[in-house]
């Protein structure tokens, strides 16, 4: 069981992730945008962060960058409905800025849960 911080501005995505994380027996906390997400990260101290990339107020890439400044090791999963920066997709960019995995929406519950398990286990194994 892990503590998961979910940052997404879309309610139905948050609800869906709630269903998935519940199914995976994870604890979770939701934030509606990057700023809230960053505050929640400090407060909630999650084992893993799932963040959307296109969000109002503070978008995902910036959020990932800021989280990485605070905690280098906490795994981050980026999720996105699409979009590009230059030649790269947002997901690629997110990976460059520190996201450990990236999933395009819509995603399969299985692959998310699997990624969480893998990444948390890996983080725990890292000194």
């Amino acid at each position: 069981m892990s503590r998961i911080l979910v940052i997404d501005d879309d309610r139905i995505v948050r609800e869906t992730l709630k269903a998935i994380l519940t199914r995976g027996r994870h604890e979770f906390h939701f934030a509606n945008d990057g700023r809230q997400g960053l505050a929640a990260f400090t407060e909630y101290k999650p084992d893993l962060v799932i963040t959307d990339l296109l969000m109002p107020e503070k978008e995902g890439i910036e959020t990932i960058r800021d989280i990485r400044r605070l905690a280098a090791k906490v795994p981050i999963i980026a999720i996105s409905g699409g979009g590009r920066v230059g030649n790269m997709s947002f997901l690629q960019v997110a990976e460059q800025f520190g996201a450990n995995r990236a999933f395009a929406k819509p995603f399969e519950p299985k692959e998310i849960l699997q990624a969480i398990d893998d990444l948390v286990a890996k983080a725990a194994a890292t000194p």
Binding site: G82, F107, E108, P109, I112
Partner: protein
């Protein structure tokens, strides 16, 4: 015996007497011994009187007869003789003529015994003979007296008799004129000696003719002797077979005849001359009162208009009129009175009143005693010459006026080659031209030469010398310093003329051409500028004249013609066929239409066309023509031709870039939009997929809702894929390509379609075998085909219809022929055609069919992205897609994709 002898002698004497008048005998002393018979009877002489006498004695003192000495010789030499005629001396005064024949006789021992003979009295015969001889002598003398030649030939054509006139006439053969000479020899010799002029050159024929005439019974002909005399020959054949010829020298007659003929001819000529001459001739008779006209020739009538009948009997003064000079009239009267010739030019008047200038010459005709019998007046019409003189005077006046008014100096110079040429005439404008007066010009031959600026003297001199040598007209332009010291340009034109005295005359005119030279200089500079401009301008400047009859010629084609077109300016100007040869065939009609517009409507034309220059290089030319009409009806084209190949290529690239930019902007906009939409849709799909999946995981395997959840998932996945594609389109990602068989792609699309299309739409598939692979993203191509077919099905609607899909291979030239463009390289292409027989599109719709968000479908039926996505995919595969459509007939989309190896070349070329 003696008796017998005596009887025999007696018998003989009888015989002798029977055959003659008498017989005689002479003894050895030549004295008569016997004399008998009829001697006495005939002569009345007693024979005793002559017995014992010799011949001499018998002859007496009478003149010795003919042949006397011969007779004496005969006797002396005892020879026999016959026919000795003599006149014996008779006493009675009778003088008969006797003729003797005698024969000597000899003794047996040869002793001469004397003569024995007979005699006859032949007085009548001798006298007749003498008379005949005398007559003949007389005739001959008479013939000798004649100037006519007389000749007689015998029957054998031998000359018998001729007189000296004959020999004179035939002097050339005089040496042959001898008795017995043959006629033929005479004429033959005359011919040989070339003394018969008319026989020259036809000798044989002439001889034949002459002989024939000679042998005719009577002939008369004339022949000319070598000395020119004419001989008339009359020949007559005589009864004895001989010929008598009379040769008469008729030279005088012939000459007189010729003279008469000449005289008659001259008379006739004179009469004809008088009646045909244009001069008027009148004859007056001063012995009659008022010296009236007694003859007027037709010339007079023609001159004056008066007929001969009208003037005969009248004095000539009716010809005079108000303008006639009184002085001349009194001059005529004076001359008539003094009977001397008179000549004057008179103004007379024709019958119709027109003035008539006549040169009149009046001459008196005198008789043998010096008395004037007539006057002859000859009138010559000099009206034309008088008027011509008048005109000449006017013309001279005019020339003087011209000389004074034309802006140049007219001059005439005369001189010998090598020497100075003096001025013989200089027109008045010389003062204005040079500052020197005409008098100064005339006084100083070297005036102009010295005025010439030194560096022009050589040219000036050589032009003059060349003209003097060739006597051809010349012109020379040079600078002079005039009297006031100003430098001026003069142009002199002159024509040399050889005079009879060996000198040469120069007729010339000299103009001050300073302004014109300066203008020319300016023009030249201007032309130079123009030429320089023309040659530096990156185009061909030309001017072409089109005549009203349609013919055309170029007046100017600038130098860069060859550089730009490959054709020289001359070729360009003269070859009317160049356009046909160098312009691309497909643009020729357009080009000709433009030329027609410039030619027929004189409207400006600007046209760009692709062509091949002379070197075979492909070019684009831009031709601008500004036509203008001249007053002459000619049409002038001022034109310029530019090579716009680079610009055209740049234009093409620019258009491409612009299209790309437009597309990029559009796509960016779409991308942004699509990105936004996609994001939202993806977010929306997140719970659908995730929760459906969670629900499925949660449901037992045999739960009835599982199938529904799977359907939800399928739909969600399709939505997800669609969004992914929209995002791919908006992202313009390079497709992930690999060699694929287009036929397989199409078949796959067909399989997918078959399940989804409504049953009223049939799909016919025609895929060529064994095609090369294309380099493509197979999934994208499937989507393309499906998209096109979906559209086609929509076009067909609820009707029954068919979609035909064909796949085949084509070459690049087909691509070009199909009018496709936009970076298509040469090589092989795979072609897919999707045709339907649906409702079709109008041209306006067709034009926008590939635009994003352009749709004819109702709200909610389509995004309008389908064909733009198709377009984007095909472009990203370096292919092209075109659409043809006709309302009511259907639509065909044609896709061309490069075969894998063609695509490699394209990439390499790029």
């Amino acid at each position: 015996m003696a008796k017998e002898l005596l009887e025999s002698e007696e018998r003989q004497r009888h015989f002798a007497e029977a055959t003659s008048d008498w017989y005689w005998e002479m003894g050895p002393d030549l004295r008569l011994t016997r004399f008998g018979g009829r001697y006495r009877e005939l002569l009345g002489v007693d024979p005793a009187a002559v017995i014992g006498k010799t011949r001499e004695e018998l002859l007496g003192d009478s003149n010795p007869p003919e042949r006397w000495q011969e007779h004496l010789d005969d006797l002396k030499h005892r020879r026999p003789f016959r026919g000795f005629t003599y006149q014996p001396q008779l006493t009675k005064g009778k003088r008969p003529y006797c003729r003797l024949s005698g024969k000597p006789f000899f003794a047996e021992d040869g002793t001469f015994l004397g003569y024995r003979g007979t005699g006859q009295e032949v007085t009548a015969e001798v006298l007749a003979e003498q008379e005949a001889r005398s007559a003949r002598r007389l005739l001959f003398d008479a013939l000798e007296q004649s100037d006519n030649g007389f000749v007689l030939f015998d029957a054998d054509d031998r000359l018998m008799l001729w007189n000296s006139a004959y020999a004179r006439i035939h002097a050339s053969t005089a040496d042959l004129i001898t008795a017995g000479q043959r006629f033929e020899t005479l004429i033959h010799t005359a011919v040989v000696r070339r003394s018969i002029p008319e026989a020259l050159g036809r000798e044989s024929a002439w001889l034949e003719e002459r002989l024939a005439a000679h042998r005719a019974a009577r002939s008369v002909h004339q022949e000319q002797a070598s000395d020119g005399r004419w001989i008339r020959i009359q020949e007559t054949r005589l009864a004895d077979g001989g010929y008598l010829g009379i040769h008469i020298d008729v030279s005088d007659a012939v000459r007189r005849e010729a003279e008469l003929r000449e005289l008659a001819r001259k008379d006739a000529l004179l009469v004809a001359a008088i009646s045909t001459t244009h001069s008027g001739i009148i004859i007056t008779d001063p012995t009659l009162p008022d010296n009236p006209i007694i003859y007027a020739n037709p010339g007079f009538t023609a001159l004056t208009g008066y007929s001969a009948e009208e003037v005969l009997g009248r004095n000539c003064r009716f010809l005079q009129g108000p303008g006639t000079d009184r002085k001349d009239i009194s001059g005529i009267r004076q001359a008539v009175v003094e009977a001397r010739p008179f000549g004057a030019s008179l103004l007379n008047y024709r019958k119709d009143g027109q003035p008539l200038y006549l040169d009149v010459n009046i001459s008196p005709v005198l008789d043998g005693d010096g008395r004037v019998t007539h006057f002859v007046g000859v009138q010559t019409d000099v009206t034309a010459s008088v008027l011509a003189k008048e005109r000449l005077r006017e013309s001279e006046e005019r020339l003087r006026g011209i000389a004074a008014n034309i802006p140049g100096v007219i001059y005439q110079r005369v001189g010998k080659p090598g020497g100075a040429f003096r001025y013989t005439y200089v027109s008045d404008r010389c003062l204005e031209l040079s500052g020197y007066t005409a008098e100064e010009w005339l006084a100083e031959p070297l005036l102009t030469r010295n005025s010439v600026v030194p560096e022009f003297r050589a040219a000036f001199d050589s032009a003059k010398h060349a003209a003097l040598k060739t006597l051809e007209p010349a012109e020379v332009q040079f600078q002079v310093v005039n009297k006031s010291g100003a430098r001026r340009w003069w142009r002199s034109l002159f024509r040399p003329r050889q005079l009879s005295n060996g000198e040469i005359q120069l007729d010339g005119v000299v103009f001050d051409v300073t302004e014109s030279v300066q203008a020319e200089e300016k023009l030249r500079e201007s032309e130079e500028k123009l030429r320089s401009l023309a040659s530096n301008l990156p185009g061909v400047i030309f001017q072409r004249i089109i005549r009203p009859d349609g013919s055309a010629y170029s007046t100017y084609v600038s130098e860069r013609c060859e550089e730009i077109t490959g054709y020289t300016a001359t070729e360009w100007a003269n070859d009317r066929d160049i356009a046909r040869r160098h312009i691309d065939e497909t643009h020729l009609a357009r080009f000709r239409a433009a030329m027609r517009k410039a030619r027929c409507e004189a409207l400006p034309v600007e046209i760009e066309y692709p062509c091949t220059n002379k070197d075979g290089e492909k070019k684009w030319f831009q031709l601008k023509i500004q036509p203008r009409k001249l007053a002459t009806g000619d049409l002038v084209w001022d034109g310029v031709l530019f090579d716009v190949t680079h610009q055209k290529l740049a234009d093409g690239q620019k258009a491409e870039l612009e299209a790309q930019l437009r597309q990029a902007q559009k796509i960016e906009a779409i991308g942004t939009l699509a990105g936004g939409i996609a994001h939202d849709i993806n977010n929306t799909l997140v719970p659908i997929i995730a929760l459906s999946r969670l629900s499925l995981d949660a449901l037992p395997e045999d739960h009835s809702d599982r199938e529904s959840l799977h359907t939800v998932l399928d739909a969600a996945y399709r939505a997800r894929d669609l969004v992914a594609e929209i995002l791919a389109f908006s992202r313009k990602e390079m497709p992930r390509t690999e060699p694929v068989q287009l036929g397989e792609i199409v078949k796959k699309a067909h399989r997918l379609l078959a399940a989804t299309l409504s049953p009223n739409v049939a799909i016919a598939l025609d895929v060529a075998d064994e095609m090369e692979p294309v380099q493509a993203d197979g999934n994208q191509l499937v989507q393309v085909i499906m998209n096109l077919c979906t559209n086609a099905a929509h076009a067909i609607g609820r009707k029954h219809g068919e979609i035909a899909i064909t796949v085949d291979a084509v070459q690049a030239d087909h691509v070009a022929a199909a009018g496709l463009s936009g970076g298509i390289a040469a090589g092989g292409f795979a072609r897919v055609r999707v045709s339907d027989n649906g409702c079709g599109m109008d041209p306006r719709t067709l034009q926008r069919v590939f635009e994003p968000f352009f749709t004819t479908k109702g709200v909610g039926e389509g995004t309008g992205l389908g064909l733009s996505v198709v377009h984007g995919i095909i472009r990203s595969h370096r292919g092209v897609i075109t659409a043809e459509s006709e309302v009511g007939r259907g639509t065909t989309f044609t896709i061309l994709l490069p075969f894998a190896h063609t695509a490699d070349q394209q990439i390499a070329a790029a």
